[in-house]
Symmetry: C2
């Protein structure tokens, strides 16, 4: 028993570190949301807002889902999911019949492929331009649509590898002309940058609370146009109040508290997006001067970036810590967030990190390049 | 903006109250788990245990899921879900083909019906004995199996209305003799009382972290026998590491931290189950003396109870607060957890509540009965 107690006395290993992890920079809670979330460390959390009534009958929860979130995204209908992957799955299941084909960009997250498989769909790919930009041209969807006759198309906006931000508008036009439902994966954009569903015109837009909306997970968002909402929100025959695909909504728990408590902060921070892009570009230029070459679109349009790091790879061949040296070196400087054991290329994000902290990151990289 | 800030400055309304809510008494976190969970108020929480590696490669997470949880339940294989309803859905989807029939007890939670519908199954019901015991006899499954030829059977152990605890063992025997997979819904037992899967012999056992395992939600558990695990844990063709139905496991987030941090406490507390049953029976007897009559099995075998409260109903007809009077009266005594507006019958749980606190609850009820 004491050994169990010891084993599960969990602690964060990197609290207080500068965190450049692409999957975490958008998820740091503001102080007020941290406070609220800590209060709701209890099972069935939202019930504690208004004990004894159904979750969707709690005024603030209903208002969040029916008014404030749709307003924020300029969307017709919004529902809470367990994350972007569940959102993609629900969108695909709603939009396409099992056995049909979904057309996705080559930069899609692996969960896009898994969600399609779970929904019984075949996947066809629109290739990127390859090294070094890996750009997705929405024009390339045109030929692929002719060839594969997909029942849905998906675009990753941006992708999680290069942070490339292809223009969804031409694809939306193309999809609508061909009457094909269009899914936009916004796991790394919803909550970071302004999104206007009526302007971008996808049929579904999917987001992630624990990636980009300053929330603990698991939580995400799916937005749909009115046209699709009836099918997506089909009610259970057995239990008229339950939307079948969501199996009742009250299980969203403490992450829902966190998502709601962070909402006013997220609502404001997306307005500062241009300065985040500016900062990312500045960081990319500084890295370039160290011989660490940014891949993906240049100039870059997002805080998520991948760098080719040839000097680090060369060092790892000689270093006594081998491929672990880079991670360990950053750790010794109070920096975390790159993948352990990677030296040929690294992914990072500058989102929400001050220039002073980013200078420390640059200086940690510079010291390695200089020393070896 | 300020109005948004105000709206989403969420606070618990009933912190510090004696909480007799059946869906919450089993979810109170012990101090050590509250501390750990508060540390992980951050997106993609488990990554902070070991940044840069896959969630299932974190030794403590892997050990929890592959060794400690199976050991605790004497189960072959265990996976984490978003709650009991997802567990029931996965069990049904694994065990039965769409279009076939699942046989369930009449006391089943509404999500059992919704999960069956989502899995494309027809539902047939084994009736309870009705008022006042609403007992489920597993012998009644025998005729129903002959009649409906179900492809799966489910038993709720116990149900969330009466806290009735039917004996699963005869049903397990019957199901195995007929080669029908048997699902045991343990949302209100797993984490409250000892469960031994090899003794009870279901094919699937489903639990809820935020109902009975001292955890924040949304989180649950599905346990399966080796026989079913291959089908249940089928890997994605697109992404060999991902189990298709679970779409990758890293999104279980902060609730997973909470579930793990509470595990040593839960592991110990189930051993005290006999004294919890004793306390529930004592409470039931005291209620009886007030003319508040316990429904369901008597003597009772679980902390979750429903009482017929005729005196309260009579009072509500005359009281100026009408049906809200009971809830409000309890609230004024620092007691919460019954459903707002119910006076004919109330559901409550005595789990983990001290006798002193329960005496306060009894005295609050007594005062009403005496005054009117």
């Amino acid at each position: 028993m004491d050994s169990l107690k010891q084993k599960y006395a969990l602690s964060r290993k990197y609290a207080g570190f500068i965190n450049i992890s692409p999957i975490q920079t958008g998820a740091i809670l503001p102080e007020e949301a941290e406070r609220a979330t800590k209060e709701f460390i209890v099972g069935y959390a939202p019930y504690n807002l208004a004990q004894g009534i159904e979750i969707m009958d709690i005024p603030v929860v209903r208002d969040f889902i029916e008014n404030d979130l749709p307003g924020f995204l300029n969307a017709d209908r919004v529902r809470i999911t367990f994350g972007a992957r569940e959102g993609i799955y629900i969108a695909m299941k709603t939009a396409a019949k099992p056995g049909s084909t979904v057309l996705v960009d080559e930069n899609s997250h692996y969960t896009t492929f898994v969600a399609a498989e779970k929904a019984g769909l075949n996947v066809e790919i629109v290739k990127s331009s390859g090294y070094p930009e890996y750009a997705i041209s929405t024009q390339d969807y045109e030929e692929a649509i002719r060839k594969h006759k997909p029942s849905a198309v998906l675009l990753t906006y941006p992708d999680g590898n290069y942070g490339n931000l292809p223009d969804p508008e031409p694809l939306a036009k193309l999809a609508h002309e061909n009457s094909i439902p269009f899914i936009l994966n916004c796991a790394y954009s919803m909550g970071r940058m302004p999104l206007d569903m009526k302007k971008l015109k996808p049929d579904f837009m999917v987001g992630s609370g624990h990636k980009s909306m300053a929330s603990i997970g698991p939580i995400g968002i799916i937005a749909a146009t009115e046209k699709w909402s009836e099918k997506m929100l089909k009610k259970s025959l057995h239990h008229k109040k339950s939307e079948l695909e969501f199996m009742g909504s009250e299980i969203r728990g403490t992450p829902l508290i966190s998502l709601m408590a962070s909402f006013p902060y997220v609502y404001e921070r997306v307005k500062k997006w241009p300065s985040e892009v500016e900062k990312a570009r500045w960081f990319s230029r500084k890295m370039d001067m160290l011989g660490l070459v940014q891949l993906g679109e240049k100039p870059h349009n997002h805080d998520l970036m991948k760098f080719r790091t040839d000097p680090f790879y060369e060092i790892s061949k000689l270093h006594h810590k081998k491929r672990a040296f880079l991670y360990e070196h950053l750790k010794s400087r109070g920096i975390t967030g790159i993948q352990h054991g990677k030296t040929k290329a690294i992914k990072l994000s500058t989102y929400g990190i001050s220039k002073d902290s980013l200078k420390k990151v640059l200086s940690a990289f510079e010291d390695i390049v200089d020393t070896y």
